[in-house]
Protein backbone atom coordinates (compact mmCIF):
# COMPACT_ATOMS: atom_id res chain seq x y z
CA UNK A 1 0.00 0.00 0.00
CA UNK A 2 1.36 3.42 -0.90
CA UNK A 3 2.03 6.10 1.67
CA UNK A 4 -0.37 8.88 2.53
CA UNK A 5 -3.26 9.32 4.91
CA UNK A 6 -6.27 7.03 4.45
CA UNK A 7 -8.27 9.91 2.97
CA UNK A 8 -6.92 13.17 1.62
CA UNK A 9 -9.36 15.34 -0.29
CA UNK A 10 -8.35 18.68 -1.77
CA UNK A 11 -10.64 21.21 -3.43
CA UNK A 12 -13.19 18.54 -4.23
CA UNK A 13 -16.01 20.00 -6.30
CA UNK A 14 -18.98 18.53 -8.12
CA UNK A 15 -21.32 20.57 -10.23
CA UNK A 16 -24.52 19.45 -11.88
CA UNK A 17 -25.34 22.26 -14.28
CA UNK A 18 -25.81 25.37 -12.16
CA UNK A 19 -25.98 23.43 -8.95
CA UNK A 20 -22.80 22.94 -6.95
CA UNK A 21 -23.38 19.82 -4.88
CA UNK A 22 -19.89 19.77 -3.39
CA UNK A 23 -17.91 22.99 -3.26
CA UNK A 24 -14.14 22.89 -2.70
CA UNK A 25 -14.10 20.33 0.09
CA UNK A 26 -10.78 19.73 1.87
CA UNK A 27 -10.74 16.74 4.16
CA UNK A 28 -8.06 14.65 5.82
CA UNK A 29 -8.73 11.42 7.66
CA UNK A 30 -5.69 10.15 9.52
CA UNK A 31 -4.90 6.52 10.24
CA UNK A 32 -6.79 5.30 13.28
CA UNK A 33 -9.42 8.03 13.12
CA UNK A 34 -13.06 7.32 13.62
CA UNK A 35 -14.07 10.28 11.56
CA UNK A 36 -17.59 11.64 11.49
CA UNK A 37 -18.74 13.31 8.31
CA UNK A 38 -21.74 15.29 9.42
CA UNK A 39 -24.31 17.28 7.63
CA UNK A 40 -28.03 17.58 7.02
CA UNK A 41 -29.63 15.70 4.15
CA UNK A 42 -28.64 17.18 0.81
CA UNK A 43 -25.50 18.85 2.19
CA UNK A 44 -23.23 16.89 -0.16
CA UNK A 45 -22.02 14.01 2.06
CA UNK A 46 -23.02 11.18 -0.24
CA UNK A 47 -21.82 12.93 -3.39
CA UNK A 48 -18.45 13.51 -1.67
CA UNK A 49 -18.23 9.88 -0.62
CA UNK A 50 -19.14 8.65 -4.10
CA UNK A 51 -16.26 10.74 -5.44
CA UNK A 52 -13.97 9.33 -2.76
CA UNK A 53 -14.86 5.81 -3.90
CA UNK A 54 -14.37 6.65 -7.59
CA UNK A 55 -18.06 6.30 -8.47
CA UNK A 56 -18.46 9.94 -9.52
CA UNK A 57 -15.91 12.04 -11.41
CA UNK A 58 -15.14 15.30 -9.62
CA UNK A 59 -15.63 18.53 -11.57
CA UNK A 60 -12.49 19.79 -9.84
CA UNK A 61 -10.15 18.77 -7.06
CA UNK A 62 -8.72 15.42 -6.16
CA UNK A 63 -9.12 12.47 -3.85
CA UNK A 64 -6.24 10.38 -2.57
CA UNK A 65 -6.80 7.17 -0.64
CA UNK A 66 -3.54 6.08 0.94
CA UNK A 67 -1.89 8.33 -1.63
CA UNK A 68 -3.66 6.89 -4.71
CA UNK A 69 -6.36 8.44 -6.86
CA UNK A 70 -9.43 6.20 -7.30
CA UNK A 71 -10.20 7.94 -10.61
CA UNK A 72 -6.94 6.64 -12.06
CA UNK A 73 -7.05 3.01 -11.01
CA UNK A 74 -9.22 0.66 -9.04
CA UNK A 75 -6.05 -0.30 -7.16
CA UNK A 76 -6.60 2.89 -5.14
CA UNK A 77 -9.40 0.97 -3.42
CA UNK A 78 -7.04 -1.72 -2.17
CA UNK A 79 -7.65 -1.89 1.56
CA UNK A 80 -10.70 0.34 1.21
CA UNK A 81 -14.29 -0.81 1.59
CA UNK A 82 -17.68 0.55 2.41
CA UNK A 83 -20.91 1.64 0.91
CA UNK A 84 -22.77 4.78 -0.05
CA UNK A 85 -26.45 5.16 0.77
CA UNK A 86 -28.04 1.77 1.37
CA UNK A 87 -25.88 -1.22 0.42
CA UNK A 88 -27.39 -2.98 -2.57
CA UNK A 89 -27.21 -6.63 -3.62
CA UNK A 90 -28.68 -8.94 -6.23
CA UNK A 91 -32.13 -9.72 -4.83
CA UNK A 92 -32.43 -12.96 -6.79
CA UNK A 93 -29.27 -14.43 -5.21
CA UNK A 94 -28.90 -15.57 -1.62
CA UNK A 95 -26.60 -13.68 0.75
CA UNK A 96 -23.80 -16.25 0.55
CA UNK A 97 -23.83 -16.23 -3.25
CA UNK A 98 -23.83 -12.42 -3.26
CA UNK A 99 -20.77 -12.48 -1.04
CA UNK A 100 -19.14 -15.18 -3.21
CA UNK A 101 -19.66 -12.95 -6.24
CA UNK A 102 -18.13 -9.94 -4.49
CA UNK A 103 -15.29 -12.07 -3.12
CA UNK A 104 -14.56 -13.22 -6.68
CA UNK A 105 -14.38 -9.57 -7.75
CA UNK A 106 -12.06 -8.86 -4.79
CA UNK A 107 -9.66 -11.75 -5.27
CA UNK A 108 -6.97 -11.98 -2.59
CA UNK A 109 -8.59 -14.99 -0.89
CA UNK A 110 -11.72 -13.05 0.06
CA UNK A 111 -13.85 -16.13 -0.56
CA UNK A 112 -12.33 -17.85 2.45
CA UNK A 113 -13.46 -15.05 4.74
CA UNK A 114 -17.18 -15.42 3.96
CA UNK A 115 -18.11 -17.62 6.97
CA UNK A 116 -16.19 -15.28 9.29
CA UNK A 117 -17.83 -12.06 8.06
CA UNK A 118 -21.30 -13.63 8.08
CA UNK A 119 -20.63 -14.60 11.66
CA UNK A 120 -19.50 -11.07 12.60
CA UNK A 121 -22.77 -9.55 11.34
CA UNK A 122 -24.80 -12.47 12.69
CA UNK A 123 -26.27 -13.54 9.37
CA UNK A 124 -24.89 -17.08 9.25
CA UNK A 125 -28.34 -18.60 9.79
CA UNK A 126 -29.86 -16.54 6.95
CA UNK A 127 -26.97 -16.94 4.50
CA UNK A 128 -28.96 -19.19 2.15
CA UNK A 129 -31.97 -16.86 2.00
CA UNK A 130 -32.44 -14.67 -1.05
CA UNK A 131 -31.49 -11.07 -0.33
CA UNK A 132 -34.77 -9.93 -1.93
CA UNK A 133 -36.50 -11.11 1.26
CA UNK A 134 -34.10 -9.37 3.63
CA UNK A 135 -35.18 -6.55 5.94
CA UNK A 136 -33.48 -3.17 5.69
CA UNK A 137 -31.42 -3.87 8.79
CA UNK A 138 -30.25 -7.25 7.47
CA UNK A 139 -29.13 -5.60 4.24
CA UNK A 140 -27.20 -2.99 6.21
CA UNK A 141 -25.46 -5.79 8.09
CA UNK A 142 -24.78 -7.65 4.86
CA UNK A 143 -23.27 -4.41 3.55
CA UNK A 144 -20.85 -4.42 6.48
CA UNK A 145 -20.07 -8.09 5.81
CA UNK A 146 -19.39 -7.33 2.14
CA UNK A 147 -17.03 -4.55 3.23
CA UNK A 148 -15.17 -6.74 5.70
CA UNK A 149 -14.48 -9.29 2.96
CA UNK A 150 -11.87 -6.84 1.67
CA UNK A 151 -9.94 -6.82 4.97
CA UNK A 152 -10.23 -3.02 4.93
CA UNK A 153 -7.79 -0.64 6.51
CA UNK A 154 -10.28 2.13 5.71
CA UNK A 155 -14.00 1.62 6.08
CA UNK A 156 -16.27 4.25 4.51
CA UNK A 157 -19.84 3.99 5.70
CA UNK A 158 -22.55 6.34 4.52
CA UNK A 159 -25.40 6.64 7.00
CA UNK A 160 -25.08 3.02 8.15
CA UNK A 161 -27.75 3.37 10.84
CA UNK A 162 -30.38 4.99 8.64
CA UNK A 163 -33.64 3.09 8.76
CA UNK A 164 -32.59 0.88 11.65
CA UNK A 165 -34.66 0.49 14.79
CA UNK A 166 -33.09 1.65 18.10
CA UNK A 167 -31.67 -1.80 18.83
CA UNK A 168 -30.28 -2.02 15.30
CA UNK A 169 -28.68 1.40 15.69
CA UNK A 170 -27.10 0.39 18.96
CA UNK A 171 -25.76 -2.84 17.42
CA UNK A 172 -24.37 -0.90 14.46
CA UNK A 173 -22.58 1.54 16.80
CA UNK A 174 -21.13 -1.33 18.80
CA UNK A 175 -19.95 -3.02 15.61
CA UNK A 176 -18.28 0.17 14.35
CA UNK A 177 -16.60 0.69 17.73
CA UNK A 178 -15.38 -2.88 17.67
CA UNK A 179 -13.98 -2.53 14.14
CA UNK A 180 -12.30 0.75 15.07
CA UNK A 181 -10.74 -0.89 18.14
CA UNK A 182 -9.19 -3.45 15.79
CA UNK A 183 -7.30 -0.63 14.06
CA UNK A 184 -9.58 0.04 11.09
CA UNK A 185 -9.84 3.71 10.15
CA UNK A 186 -13.50 4.61 9.82
CA UNK A 187 -15.12 7.42 7.87
CA UNK A 188 -18.71 7.55 8.96
CA UNK A 189 -21.22 9.93 7.45
CA UNK A 190 -24.39 10.74 9.25
CA UNK A 191 -27.07 13.24 9.90
CA UNK A 192 -27.81 11.41 13.14
CA UNK A 193 -25.76 13.36 15.61
CA UNK A 194 -26.01 10.94 18.49
CA UNK A 195 -24.46 8.27 16.32
CA UNK A 196 -21.40 10.37 15.60
CA UNK A 197 -21.11 11.84 19.09
CA UNK A 198 -20.93 8.39 20.57
CA UNK A 199 -18.53 6.83 18.08
CA UNK A 200 -16.29 9.44 16.46
CA UNK A 201 -13.28 11.34 17.73
CA UNK A 202 -12.84 13.72 14.79
CA UNK A 203 -15.52 15.31 12.65
CA UNK A 204 -16.09 17.42 9.60
CA UNK A 205 -19.35 19.27 9.22
CA UNK A 206 -20.52 19.94 5.70
CA UNK A 207 -23.10 22.55 4.90
CA UNK A 208 -24.40 23.35 1.44
CA UNK A 209 -21.44 21.53 -0.12
CA UNK A 210 -18.79 23.33 1.95
CA UNK A 211 -16.90 22.24 5.04
CA UNK A 212 -18.12 24.37 7.94
CA UNK A 213 -15.88 22.74 10.56
CA UNK A 214 -13.18 20.10 10.71
CA UNK A 215 -11.29 18.93 13.77
CA UNK A 216 -11.54 17.16 17.11
CA UNK A 217 -15.01 16.84 18.53
CA UNK A 218 -13.75 18.06 21.91
CA UNK A 219 -12.19 21.11 20.24
CA UNK A 220 -15.47 21.84 18.50
CA UNK A 221 -17.23 21.96 21.83
CA UNK A 222 -14.55 24.24 23.21
CA UNK A 223 -14.70 26.57 20.20
CA UNK A 224 -18.44 26.83 20.51
CA UNK A 225 -17.90 28.22 24.05
CA UNK A 226 -19.26 27.32 27.43
CA UNK A 227 -22.76 28.46 28.18
CA UNK A 228 -24.51 28.95 31.51
CA UNK A 229 -28.06 28.37 32.59
CA UNK A 230 -29.75 30.65 35.09
CA UNK A 231 -32.88 30.38 37.19
CA UNK A 232 -33.87 33.10 39.65
CA UNK A 233 -36.80 34.22 41.75
CA UNK A 234 -37.53 37.02 39.27
CA UNK A 235 -37.09 36.08 35.63
CA UNK A 236 -38.01 39.53 34.30
CA UNK A 237 -35.48 41.33 36.45
CA UNK A 238 -32.82 38.72 35.65
CA UNK A 239 -33.42 39.16 31.92
CA UNK A 240 -33.04 42.93 32.24
CA UNK A 241 -29.72 42.45 34.04
CA UNK A 242 -28.44 40.05 31.41
CA UNK A 243 -29.50 42.28 28.51
CA UNK A 244 -27.73 45.29 30.01
CA UNK A 245 -24.57 43.41 31.05
CA UNK A 246 -22.00 43.70 28.26
CA UNK A 247 -19.85 40.77 29.47
CA UNK A 248 -22.48 38.19 28.42
CA UNK A 249 -23.81 37.38 24.98
CA UNK A 250 -26.35 35.12 23.27
CA UNK A 251 -28.98 35.53 25.95
CA UNK A 252 -31.98 33.29 25.37
CA UNK A 253 -34.89 32.04 27.42
CA UNK A 254 -36.23 28.51 27.28
CA UNK A 255 -39.89 27.54 27.70
CA UNK A 256 -39.51 26.78 31.41
CA UNK A 257 -38.11 30.26 32.06
CA UNK A 258 -34.49 29.17 32.32
CA UNK A 259 -32.17 31.76 30.83
CA UNK A 260 -29.07 30.82 28.86
CA UNK A 261 -26.08 32.95 28.01
CA UNK A 262 -22.42 32.92 27.07
CA UNK A 263 -20.17 34.78 29.56
CA UNK A 264 -16.98 36.45 28.35
CA UNK A 265 -15.10 34.63 31.15
CA UNK A 266 -15.57 33.29 34.67
CA UNK A 267 -15.16 36.73 36.29
CA UNK A 268 -18.15 37.91 34.28
CA UNK A 269 -20.21 35.19 35.95
CA UNK A 270 -19.07 36.35 39.38
CA UNK A 271 -19.96 39.98 38.57
CA UNK A 272 -23.28 38.90 37.19
CA UNK A 273 -24.26 37.06 40.38
CA UNK A 274 -23.69 40.26 42.32
CA UNK A 275 -25.76 42.34 39.92
CA UNK A 276 -28.61 39.84 40.02
CA UNK A 277 -28.76 39.94 43.79
CA UNK A 278 -28.66 43.76 43.73
CA UNK A 279 -31.59 43.74 41.26
CA UNK A 280 -33.63 41.52 43.60
CA UNK A 281 -33.40 38.41 41.45
CA UNK A 282 -32.27 35.73 43.91
CA UNK A 283 -30.34 32.93 42.24
CA UNK A 284 -31.88 29.47 42.35
CA UNK A 285 -29.49 27.97 39.81
CA UNK A 286 -26.43 29.34 37.98
CA UNK A 287 -24.66 26.45 36.30
CA UNK A 288 -22.19 25.94 33.45
CA UNK A 289 -23.30 23.57 30.72
CA UNK A 290 -21.49 22.04 27.76
CA UNK A 291 -23.10 22.68 24.43
CA UNK A 292 -24.53 19.51 22.97
CA UNK A 293 -23.29 18.49 19.59
CA UNK A 294 -26.80 18.97 18.32
CA UNK A 295 -26.73 22.64 19.23
CA UNK A 296 -23.33 23.08 17.63
CA UNK A 297 -24.50 21.22 14.58
CA UNK A 298 -27.54 23.41 14.11
CA UNK A 299 -25.44 26.47 14.72
CA UNK A 300 -22.98 25.45 12.00
CA UNK A 301 -25.47 24.14 9.48
CA UNK A 302 -28.40 26.47 9.78
CA UNK A 303 -26.73 29.87 9.92
CA UNK A 304 -26.59 32.17 6.95
CA UNK A 305 -23.89 31.63 4.37
Amino acid sequence: MTSGPPVEVRGLTKQYGDITAVDGVDLTVEAGDVFGYLGPNGAGKTTSMRMMLGLIRPTAGEVKLFGKDPQESISALTGVAGFVEAPRFYPYLDAKTNLELLAALDGDGANGRIPEVLDIVELTDRAKDKVGGYSHGMRQRLGIAASLLRKPKLLMLDEPATGLDPAGMRDMRLLIKRLASEGITVLLSSHLLAEVEDVCDRVAIIRKGKIAYQGQLSQLRKEAGLSYSLRTTDDTAARKVLDSFTAVTDVAASDDGTLRFHPADESAVAQLSGQLTAAGAMIIELAPRSATLEELFFELTEGES
Binding site: R50, I74, Y90, L102, A104, L105
Partner: protein
Protein backbone atom coordinates in the same frame (compact mmCIF):
# COMPACT_ATOMS: atom_id res chain seq x y z
CA UNK B 1 -2.23 -9.11 -4.49
CA UNK B 2 -3.65 -11.16 -7.34
CA UNK B 3 -6.33 -9.15 -9.15
CA UNK B 4 -9.42 -10.84 -10.56
CA UNK B 5 -9.46 -11.37 -14.34
CA UNK B 6 -12.06 -10.38 -16.91
CA UNK B 7 -12.85 -14.10 -17.14
CA UNK B 8 -13.88 -14.01 -13.47
CA UNK B 9 -16.32 -11.18 -14.22
CA UNK B 10 -17.61 -13.11 -17.26
CA UNK B 11 -18.09 -16.29 -15.23
CA UNK B 12 -20.09 -14.41 -12.60
CA UNK B 13 -22.15 -12.62 -15.24
CA UNK B 14 -23.17 -16.05 -16.53
CA UNK B 15 -23.92 -17.13 -12.97
CA UNK B 16 -26.20 -14.10 -12.55
CA UNK B 17 -27.92 -14.85 -15.86
CA UNK B 18 -28.58 -18.39 -14.68
CA UNK B 19 -30.40 -16.99 -11.65
CA UNK B 20 -32.67 -14.59 -13.57
CA UNK B 21 -36.13 -15.37 -14.90
CA UNK B 22 -35.70 -13.33 -18.08
CA UNK B 23 -32.91 -15.67 -19.15
CA UNK B 24 -35.28 -18.60 -19.08
CA UNK B 25 -37.99 -16.55 -20.74
CA UNK B 26 -35.67 -16.07 -23.72
CA UNK B 27 -34.46 -19.67 -23.76
CA UNK B 28 -38.03 -20.90 -23.36
CA UNK B 29 -39.10 -18.86 -26.37
CA UNK B 30 -36.07 -20.15 -28.27
CA UNK B 31 -37.39 -23.66 -27.71
CA UNK B 32 -41.15 -23.14 -28.03
CA UNK B 33 -41.25 -20.99 -31.18
CA UNK B 34 -39.42 -23.50 -33.46
CA UNK B 35 -41.53 -26.29 -31.97
CA UNK B 36 -44.73 -24.37 -32.70
CA UNK B 37 -43.46 -23.51 -36.17
CA UNK B 38 -42.69 -27.16 -36.91
CA UNK B 39 -46.06 -28.31 -35.63
CA UNK B 40 -47.72 -25.72 -37.90
CA UNK B 41 -45.66 -27.03 -40.82
CA UNK B 42 -46.69 -30.58 -40.03
CA UNK B 43 -50.37 -29.74 -39.77
CA UNK B 44 -50.64 -27.49 -42.83
CA UNK B 45 -50.65 -29.16 -46.22
CA UNK B 46 -48.95 -26.31 -48.14
CA UNK B 47 -45.56 -24.70 -47.74
CA UNK B 48 -44.19 -21.11 -47.82
CA UNK B 49 -42.94 -21.27 -51.41
CA UNK B 50 -41.97 -17.60 -51.57
CA UNK B 51 -39.05 -18.00 -49.14
CA UNK B 52 -35.83 -19.92 -49.81
CA UNK B 53 -36.14 -23.58 -48.74
CA UNK B 54 -39.84 -23.06 -48.03
CA UNK B 55 -40.81 -25.50 -50.73
CA UNK B 56 -38.65 -28.26 -49.19
CA UNK B 57 -39.97 -28.25 -45.65
CA UNK B 58 -42.07 -31.35 -46.25
CA UNK B 59 -39.19 -33.13 -48.00
CA UNK B 60 -36.44 -32.80 -45.42
CA UNK B 61 -36.22 -31.70 -41.81
CA UNK B 62 -32.99 -29.90 -42.67
CA UNK B 63 -35.04 -27.17 -44.36
CA UNK B 64 -36.98 -26.34 -41.17
CA UNK B 65 -34.14 -24.61 -39.22
CA UNK B 66 -33.17 -22.69 -42.38
CA UNK B 67 -36.71 -21.33 -42.86
CA UNK B 68 -36.75 -20.62 -39.13
CA UNK B 69 -33.58 -18.52 -39.51
CA UNK B 70 -35.29 -16.51 -42.25
CA UNK B 71 -38.50 -15.80 -40.34
CA UNK B 72 -36.66 -15.32 -37.04
CA UNK B 73 -34.55 -12.46 -38.38
CA UNK B 74 -37.53 -10.07 -38.52
CA UNK B 75 -38.04 -9.80 -34.79
CA UNK B 76 -37.74 -13.13 -32.99
CA UNK B 77 -33.97 -13.52 -32.73
CA UNK B 78 -33.33 -9.78 -32.25
CA UNK B 79 -35.86 -9.84 -29.40
CA UNK B 80 -34.32 -12.87 -27.70
CA UNK B 81 -30.87 -11.34 -28.06
CA UNK B 82 -31.98 -7.94 -26.76
CA UNK B 83 -33.81 -9.51 -23.83
CA UNK B 84 -30.47 -10.15 -22.11
CA UNK B 85 -28.06 -7.79 -23.89
CA UNK B 86 -30.46 -4.88 -23.32
CA UNK B 87 -30.71 -5.71 -19.65
CA UNK B 88 -27.21 -6.70 -18.68
CA UNK B 89 -25.98 -3.20 -17.83
CA UNK B 90 -29.29 -1.47 -17.07
CA UNK B 91 -30.15 -4.24 -14.62
CA UNK B 92 -27.25 -3.12 -12.41
CA UNK B 93 -28.66 0.41 -12.42
CA UNK B 94 -32.14 -0.76 -11.61
CA UNK B 95 -30.93 -3.01 -8.78
CA UNK B 96 -28.59 -0.29 -7.57
CA UNK B 97 -25.74 -2.81 -7.71
CA UNK B 98 -23.51 -0.85 -10.09
CA UNK B 99 -21.91 0.88 -7.11
CA UNK B 100 -21.55 -2.49 -5.38
CA UNK B 101 -19.47 -4.08 -8.13
CA UNK B 102 -17.54 -0.95 -9.07
CA UNK B 103 -16.12 -0.57 -5.56
CA UNK B 104 -14.42 -3.97 -5.57
CA UNK B 105 -11.09 -4.82 -7.22
CA UNK B 106 -12.05 -4.95 -10.89
CA UNK B 107 -11.59 -2.14 -13.38
CA UNK B 108 -14.61 -0.76 -15.21
CA UNK B 109 -13.23 -2.12 -18.49
CA UNK B 110 -13.17 -5.60 -17.02
CA UNK B 111 -16.77 -5.30 -15.86
CA UNK B 112 -17.80 -4.02 -19.27
CA UNK B 113 -16.10 -6.73 -21.31
CA UNK B 114 -17.29 -9.39 -18.89
CA UNK B 115 -20.82 -8.25 -19.62
CA UNK B 116 -20.22 -8.08 -23.40
CA UNK B 117 -18.92 -11.65 -23.42
CA UNK B 118 -21.83 -12.86 -21.30
CA UNK B 119 -24.40 -11.17 -23.58
CA UNK B 120 -22.71 -12.68 -26.65
CA UNK B 121 -22.62 -16.11 -25.02
CA UNK B 122 -26.31 -15.96 -24.20
CA UNK B 123 -27.20 -14.85 -27.76
CA UNK B 124 -25.12 -17.70 -29.18
CA UNK B 125 -26.69 -20.28 -26.89
CA UNK B 126 -30.22 -19.01 -27.59
CA UNK B 127 -29.79 -19.14 -31.38
CA UNK B 128 -28.11 -22.56 -31.28
CA UNK B 129 -30.83 -23.96 -29.02
CA UNK B 130 -33.53 -22.53 -31.26
CA UNK B 131 -31.94 -23.90 -34.43
CA UNK B 132 -31.25 -27.20 -32.68
CA UNK B 133 -34.86 -27.63 -31.61
CA UNK B 134 -36.04 -26.61 -35.09
CA UNK B 135 -33.72 -29.24 -36.56
CA UNK B 136 -34.78 -32.03 -34.21
CA UNK B 137 -38.46 -31.20 -34.66
CA UNK B 138 -37.94 -30.88 -38.42
CA UNK B 139 -36.24 -34.26 -38.64
CA UNK B 140 -39.10 -35.77 -36.65
CA UNK B 141 -41.74 -34.27 -38.97
CA UNK B 142 -40.01 -34.37 -42.38
CA UNK B 143 -37.15 -36.82 -41.95
CA UNK B 144 -33.39 -36.79 -42.41
CA UNK B 145 -33.28 -36.46 -46.19
CA UNK B 146 -31.02 -34.79 -48.77
CA UNK B 147 -31.33 -31.03 -49.15
CA UNK B 148 -31.70 -29.09 -52.38
CA UNK B 149 -29.35 -26.09 -52.41
CA UNK B 150 -30.27 -22.65 -53.70
CA UNK B 151 -28.43 -23.51 -56.91
CA UNK B 152 -30.78 -26.46 -57.41
CA UNK B 153 -28.18 -29.09 -56.53
CA UNK B 154 -29.14 -31.90 -54.21
CA UNK B 155 -26.67 -32.38 -51.37
CA UNK B 156 -26.57 -35.41 -49.09
CA UNK B 157 -28.27 -35.24 -45.69
CA UNK B 158 -24.90 -35.32 -43.91
CA UNK B 159 -23.53 -32.48 -46.03
CA UNK B 160 -26.83 -30.62 -45.58
CA UNK B 161 -26.50 -30.98 -41.80
CA UNK B 162 -23.00 -29.45 -41.93
CA UNK B 163 -24.34 -26.59 -44.03
CA UNK B 164 -27.14 -25.95 -41.52
CA UNK B 165 -24.52 -25.77 -38.74
CA UNK B 166 -22.35 -23.41 -40.78
CA UNK B 167 -25.41 -21.29 -41.61
CA UNK B 168 -26.16 -20.86 -37.91
CA UNK B 169 -22.54 -19.82 -37.38
CA UNK B 170 -22.78 -17.15 -40.12
CA UNK B 171 -26.15 -16.06 -38.69
CA UNK B 172 -24.32 -15.21 -35.45
CA UNK B 173 -22.48 -12.34 -37.17
CA UNK B 174 -25.47 -9.94 -37.35
CA UNK B 175 -26.85 -11.38 -34.11
CA UNK B 176 -23.73 -10.23 -32.27
CA UNK B 177 -24.14 -6.79 -33.88
CA UNK B 178 -27.71 -6.69 -32.54
CA UNK B 179 -26.38 -7.70 -29.11
CA UNK B 180 -23.84 -4.85 -29.31
CA UNK B 181 -26.55 -2.31 -30.12
CA UNK B 182 -28.72 -3.60 -27.28
CA UNK B 183 -25.75 -3.34 -24.95
CA UNK B 184 -25.14 0.23 -26.02
CA UNK B 185 -28.78 1.16 -25.41
CA UNK B 186 -28.65 -0.63 -22.07
CA UNK B 187 -25.59 1.39 -21.05
CA UNK B 188 -26.84 4.72 -22.34
CA UNK B 189 -30.49 4.55 -21.24
CA UNK B 190 -29.86 2.65 -17.97
CA UNK B 191 -33.31 1.20 -18.55
CA UNK B 192 -33.88 -2.42 -19.55
CA UNK B 193 -37.28 -1.93 -21.16
CA UNK B 194 -36.08 1.04 -23.20
CA UNK B 195 -33.03 -0.90 -24.39
CA UNK B 196 -34.99 -4.02 -25.36
CA UNK B 197 -37.76 -2.09 -27.14
CA UNK B 198 -35.22 0.28 -28.70
CA UNK B 199 -33.21 -2.60 -30.15
CA UNK B 200 -36.31 -4.23 -31.55
CA UNK B 201 -37.51 -0.97 -33.06
CA UNK B 202 -34.08 -0.41 -34.61
CA UNK B 203 -34.18 -3.87 -36.13
CA UNK B 204 -37.70 -3.39 -37.52
CA UNK B 205 -36.99 0.09 -38.89
CA UNK B 206 -33.97 -1.19 -40.82
CA UNK B 207 -36.22 -3.67 -42.56
CA UNK B 208 -38.65 -0.92 -43.51
CA UNK B 209 -35.95 1.39 -44.87
CA UNK B 210 -35.61 -0.58 -48.10
CA UNK B 211 -39.25 -0.08 -49.05
CA UNK B 212 -38.87 3.71 -48.92
CA UNK B 213 -38.52 4.94 -52.52
CA UNK B 214 -34.96 5.93 -53.35
CA UNK B 215 -33.40 4.10 -50.41
CA UNK B 216 -33.29 0.64 -52.00
CA UNK B 217 -29.57 1.14 -52.73
CA UNK B 218 -28.88 1.01 -48.99
CA UNK B 219 -30.05 -2.58 -48.75
CA UNK B 220 -26.60 -4.27 -48.93
CA UNK B 221 -25.41 -2.08 -46.03
CA UNK B 222 -28.33 -2.62 -43.70
CA UNK B 223 -27.85 -4.90 -40.72
CA UNK B 224 -31.13 -6.63 -41.49
CA UNK B 225 -29.80 -7.75 -44.89
CA UNK B 226 -26.87 -9.52 -43.25
CA UNK B 227 -29.27 -12.02 -41.72
CA UNK B 228 -29.49 -13.58 -45.19
CA UNK B 229 -25.72 -13.90 -45.68
CA UNK B 230 -25.73 -17.59 -44.69
CA UNK B 231 -27.57 -18.34 -47.92
CA UNK B 232 -24.22 -17.92 -49.70
CA UNK B 233 -23.18 -21.21 -48.09
CA UNK B 234 -26.05 -22.98 -49.79
CA UNK B 235 -25.02 -22.11 -53.31
CA UNK B 236 -22.76 -24.15 -55.54
CA UNK B 237 -20.03 -23.05 -55.54
CA UNK B 238 -20.26 -21.28 -52.17
CA UNK B 239 -20.81 -17.55 -52.61
CA UNK B 240 -18.55 -15.92 -50.02
CA UNK B 241 -19.38 -12.33 -51.00
CA UNK B 242 -22.49 -11.89 -48.80
CA UNK B 243 -20.68 -13.57 -45.90
CA UNK B 244 -17.67 -11.27 -46.17
CA UNK B 245 -20.00 -8.29 -46.51
CA UNK B 246 -21.97 -9.47 -43.45
CA UNK B 247 -18.73 -9.53 -41.49
CA UNK B 248 -17.69 -5.97 -42.24
CA UNK B 249 -21.15 -4.42 -42.36
CA UNK B 250 -22.05 -6.03 -39.02
CA UNK B 251 -18.72 -4.86 -37.60
CA UNK B 252 -19.53 -1.35 -38.80
CA UNK B 253 -22.65 -1.47 -36.61
CA UNK B 254 -21.19 -3.43 -33.70
CA UNK B 255 -17.83 -1.75 -33.14
CA UNK B 256 -19.10 1.87 -32.89
CA UNK B 257 -21.97 0.68 -30.68
CA UNK B 258 -19.55 -1.09 -28.34
CA UNK B 259 -17.15 1.85 -28.34
CA UNK B 260 -19.93 4.27 -27.44
CA UNK B 261 -21.10 1.90 -24.72
CA UNK B 262 -17.55 1.51 -23.38
CA UNK B 263 -16.86 5.25 -23.28
CA UNK B 264 -20.21 5.94 -21.57
CA UNK B 265 -19.60 3.10 -19.12
CA UNK B 266 -16.10 4.29 -18.25
CA UNK B 267 -17.03 7.94 -17.85
CA UNK B 268 -20.43 7.67 -16.24
CA UNK B 269 -21.18 8.91 -12.76
CA UNK B 270 -22.71 6.18 -10.66
CA UNK B 271 -25.29 8.18 -8.77
CA UNK B 272 -28.01 5.58 -8.31
CA UNK B 273 -28.58 2.83 -5.82
Amino acid sequence: MKSPSTFTVYRWELRKLRAQKRTYLGIGAAILVPMAFTIAVALRPGEPRDVPFGRYIHQTGLAIPLVMLLFGSIWFFPLITALVAGDIVANEDQNGTMKTILTRSVERTQVFFGKVLAAFTYAFIAVVISAGFALVAGLFVSGYNPLTSLSGQVVSANEGLSLVGASVAVYMIPILAIASIALMLSTVTRNSAAAVVGTLMFSLILQLVVIIPGLGGLKPYLLSTQFNAWQGLLRTPIDWDPIIRAAWVSSAYAIPALLIALVVFLRRDVTGG
